[in-house]
Amino acid sequence: MTLSTALKTGDLTALPSRRDEDWRWTDLRGLLRALPPAAPAHDGEVPAGPFADLASAETVFVNGRRVVETEVASGVIALRFVALADQASQGASHALVVKPGETLVLLESHEGRAGGYVTDVALDIAVGEGASVERIVLVEDDAEAVNVVTAEVDLAPGAQYAQTILTSGARRQRIETRVNHPGAHAEVRLDGAYLLDAQRHADLTTVVTHAGVEGVTSQLTKGMVTDQARGVFQGRIVVSPGADQTDARMGHHALILSDKAEIDAKPELLIFADDVSCAHGNTIGALDEDALFYAEQRGIPQAEAKAMLTVAFVGEVVDRIAHEGAREIAAAWVARKLGSAV
C-alpha cells in the first residue's frame, strides 16, 4: 500500500487511502484519479541546490534518475531530489551506510522546480556503531505536487542520529521517518517544522521503535498553518518489552493563524517496558494576543509583529540544528517563508 508500488505497477488501488489508519489524514487514493506519465530523462543544466556552498560532495537525482553519485558517506554531503518535469511522475530510492565511528552531515533537499508532479522517494540509512549523523531535510515542493518521502533508519549501539525536517508543504505531502532504535546508548533527535499557507498540506510522520535498554529519543516538531492549509503530525514511540531505561520525549506545538486552517495531531507512546521515562506534549493554538499587542504598542505593525513572533516560535527547532551553516540556511528559509527579515 504505497505510492512507490503504484508508480511501479500503475495500479492506483495500491495507494494508501483514508481507510488506512496511518494515512487517514493524507489520503492519496482519493486524490490521485490517474498517475501522470513517467518523467523523462533530463539532459540540460541542473541549477545549484540550497546547500551547494556547504557540501563537499553530492548525490543528485533528477526526475527520479541518479545523475551524480558520491561514494562517500562522511563529512558534509548533499543529497538532492530535483523535479524538473511538469505533470510527470517519478520514484527514487537511495541507500546510505555510515561506517562505525564516522560522522556525516547529510544535507538533503527536495527541490520542486516544476509543477504538478508526483514523486516518491525511499531512503535507507544505516548508522554504524558509535557513528553520528545529522540529517537536515529541506522540502520545497510545488503547490500542486504530490510528494512522499520515506526514510528507514537503522541504528547500531552508541550511534547518534539527529534530524530536522523543514517543509512548506505541497498539494499533498508526507515526510515519514522510521527509526529502529537499539537502545544501547544510541541517541535520536527527530525535529521538524512545517510552515503552510494557501491550500498546502504537509504530514510529518515518525515511528521510533526502542528495542533495547538505555536508549534516548528527543523529538520537537513545530508548525504554522494559515489560509486553508492543513498540517498533520503523527508521532509514535514504541518501547518494546525489555527496553528499560528508555528516555523518550516528544513535543508537537503548532500555531493556527486562520479559521479555515487545520491541524491533525496524533502523538502516541506505546510502552511495553517498565522503568522508562517517557513524555509527550502537544499544544495547538493562536498567537498570544497579549504579546502581539505589546509588540504593536512599541511601534511594530501587526503583520510584522505576527511574523516576528512566528519566526521566534519556530526558531526553537532551528536552534537545535548543530551544523552552523545548515542552521543559518534553515533560519533564513524560515524568515523568508514567514515574510520576515528578523
Binding site: D288, E289, D290, A291, F293, Y294, A295, E296, Q297, R298, G299, I300, P301, Q302, E304, A305, M308, L309, V311, A312, F313, G315, E316, V342
Partner: protein, 249 residues
Amino acid sequence: MLKIQNLHARVEEKPILKGVQLAVPAGEVHAIMGPNGAGKSTLSYVLSGRGGYEVTEGSASLNGDDLLALEPNERAAKGLFLSFQYPLEIPGVPALTFIRTALNAQRRARGEDEIAAPAFLKLAKEKAAALKIDFEMLKRGLNVGFSGGEKKRMEILQMAMLSPKFLILDETDSGLDIDALKIVSEGVNALRSPERGMLVITHYQRLLDYIKPDKVHVLAAGRIVASGGPELALQLEAEGYDRYVGAAA
C-alpha cells in the same frame, strides 16, 4: 499635548470609562490615582489602542492627532509609549532585536531613515549601562525569566531607546522592591523634559515620592472626580479612597 475629552469606553457591554476629562500639557507629569476597578488600566489601554475596548463617546488626541483613529503601532510612532504593569515575555526574540525592530518601524512610519546597526548598539550599550542592565541580558529572549524589577528596567530601557513624546506608566511600581523602585524612578526622571508629558497611573502614593507629579487626579467609577497638587496624593494615602468611591456612585 495629551487631551482627553468626555471619554466613554466599554468592555463587551460593560461601561468602564464614563466621561473622562483630562489635559496634560507638555513638560508636565500628571498622576492618576484611584481604587481598584476605577478604570485606570482601561484608560491606558484605550489610549494605546488595545483590542476589546469600545469607545462609545468622546475623544483623545496627542499633539492634535486623533489617537482613536490610529492603529496601536501608529500611535507609538506618534510618540505614545505605554509601560505595562506586567511586561510580556517574548521567547525567541532577543531584547536587542525587539527594540531595533520597534525603533526602525517607528522611524519608517515617520518617514525617517532606519538606524544603522553600529549606532544602535552604541546607544543600547549607553542606555543599558545607565540603568545598570547587564548588556548580555539584551541578547536573551525579551523578559524571559526576568524578575519583576528586571522587566520594569527593560521597560525603562525601551523608553530611553524609543524616546517617546508621551509616557503612560501603568502601575510601574507593582512588584518592585525599594532598590528597583529607585532605579526605575531615576530612569523615568531622566526622561522628564519640557517637550515630554507623562501620565503616571498608580494605586499607591509611594511611587510619587520618587516621580514627583505636577498634578494628581483621582479616577473613580470611570470619571476624574478630584484634581489637585501633589498634596492630594498624601491626603489619599492618609484617608483612602472611600470618600471618592461614595461620591462617584
